[in-house]
Amino acid sequence: MSAVEIRNIQKRYGDVETLKGIDIVLESGEFLVLLGSSGCGKSTLLNIIAGLAEPSGGDILIGEHSVLGAHPKDRDIAMVFQSYALYPNMSVARNIGFGLEMRKVPAAEREKAVRDTAKLLQIENLLDRKPSQLSGGQRQRVAIGRALVRNPQVFLFDEPLSNLDAKLRMEMRTELKRLHQMLKTTVVYVTHDQIEAMTLATRIAVMRDGRIEQLGTPEEIYDRPATLYVAGFVGSPPMNILDAELTGRGLRIAGTEEVFPLPESLISAGAAGRRVKVGVRPEALRLATPDATGIRLTALVEVMELTGPELVTTARIGEQRITACLPPRTSLAPGSTQVFSFDEAALHLFDPDDGRSLLAK
């Protein structure tokens, strides 16, 4: 059964088209992450699902019923906001129980539900406090508790972790994943953080300029990005994108004489002389040993940055730069020429004009 169905949703503010026709079908229990940079329309889409904004066109179905025009409270959803949006004048217990209070749930039942939720989130000892007496992470838990206690059909999260510091963000991310695995609820989660998207999602919708660039599982998004934008957005450091040209038998990196054979499966990518963009993830690159298989690139090492777990190395091929994530103990010298290699399977090809992937799906 589909939990949420988004059908050709459009949104215009005057002349500005924020959403240009979004279609997503979400199965029950899925964790969908809407991923994109600010202004891509992801929060607008979430607000439309919540009923805080009305679409200019299209339809939204929750539990197979259209909720177009329905009040947010009648949509069987709960939302967690970026700013937590706790009620500052109410205790934590009343914050969590507010939705039940408004729905006239008897006090005893309400109290039990609040207590159970607080226990689940490990905030039982905070129930009597006011939001201003809580730390950021505790407020976040209360905000999640407020959503959980009502047991809605769909949870909506609007960048819930972006106000937390890095360490707390990781903890809460794990916590959210744990909760989702335990409760198996349907979630729509908005973020601009690709790590959050990769770790939490069962499916990711990468959005850009009011459209979906790619909708797929985290593995698909990472291994087979459909466009240059997705390739550059997901992954840290981002995928290396090099200008290149197809030759009869292979691929030549622009500005170099470097030609390497095109894998069998990609021979059909285009005629000789066609310009393409080549993509290789930094983590797919390694220093070539003499007997290495795969594709080889010769580059001039410029800078090495040790992050701890890896040595992020920037090197130059002609006028273009590539980044490689090497093991931390690699011995390299800036200014030296090195041969890097990577597997054929790690190669991506994109059309330089429309940015689409040239790899067969």
Binding site: G51, L52, Q82, A85, F98
Partner: protein, 281 residues
């Protein structure tokens, strides 16, 4: 704290003392005048310190004997309380929905600017039309009529203050309550208004003071004890052939008491209202 030059510290304290003196001097002098014997106040050179403490004027003004200066003063005190109180309550009642609407619907904020523009008109420009209007409705020399006029002055002002108060309350809080199933009246009653309480208290106090101190319209639109306010009554004291400066000062001291008392009572709310932003969770 950073290490500071002692000279600089002394300068800061001296400035603070000077400021205090400038603010307090008129009030202290008013009080001294009110307890000085009449002879001290007309002596040349002036006696800055009373030769004896004379509380007779307080007795005069607070005596309720009919047709005395005291009865007139007390009547005007009551009128002032009524007019300022009614106008303030009405102004807040009008401003809450208006300010909330403007704060949450920026598209109609032009209307607030239009209202503020009328606020810029000098009172004298409106005196004649208001007089004729009040006369037509039989509201001249009436506390209700005067309160109505004051409402037109206070409402734009309180709306403006309350709007900035509502602006400081994140809209997401109201969105969250909406999703939680609260109706508009519940959102306002349980969340928005309690969170805006400090700003409401501040605007009520300022509105009350504005109405309390108003003189021009009160002078024009009232004529006897039924509606005359304190400011007019004090002016009357100065209007005779022989002015008792001490009596005027005493009336001033007494007129200052109610706002000061209200201010003291509302002090906590007032301070948090003036340092707004304290509403954020």
């Amino acid at each position: 704290m950073e290490r500071q030059n002692p000279l600089f510290t002394a300068f800061v304290y001296a400035s603070a003392l000077l400021l205090t003196a400038v603010i307090l001097a008129p009030i202290v002098w008013l009080f001294i005048m009110s307890i000085s014997p009449a002879a001290d106040l007309s002596a040349k050179p002036l006696n800055w310190w009373p030769s004896e403490i004379d509380l007779s004027r307080y007795r005069t003004l607070l005596s309720a004997v009919e047709n005395s200066a005291g009865a007139a003063f007390i009547a005007s005190l009551v009128n002032s309380l009524q007019v300022a109180g009614m106008a303030t309550l009405a102004a807040i009642a009008v401003a809450v929905p208006a300010a909330w609407a403007v704060s949450r619907t920026p598209a109609v904020s032009w209307s607030l600017y239009a209202v503020i523009a009328t606020y810029m008109l000098p009172p004298v420009a409106l005196a004649v039309p208001l007089y004729m209007g009040l006369a037509y409705f039989g509201l001249l020399n009436s506390v209700f009529g005067l309160a109505l006029v004051y409402l037109t002055i206070l409402a734009p002002f309180t709306t403006w203050l309350l709007k900035s108060g509502f602006d400081a309350i994140p809209r997401e809080i109201e969105s969250a309550a909406m999703i939680d199933g609260a109706r508009l009246d519940q959102i306002l009653r349980l969340l928005t208004l309690p969170l805006a309480a400090p700003v409401m208290a501040t605007s009520a106090l300022f509105a009350f003071l504005l109405a309390w101190d108003e003189f021009f319209y009160a002078l024009l639109f009232t004529s006897d004890l039924r509606a005359k306010t304190l400011t007019v009554a004090i002016a009357d004291l100065a209007g005779g052939r022989v002015s008792d400066y001490g009596l005027i000062a005493t009336a001033g001291v007494l007129a200052a008491l109610p706002p000061v008392l209200i201010g003291l009572v509302m002090q906590r709310a007032l301070i948090s209202g003036l340092t707004s932003g304290g509403v954020k969770g």
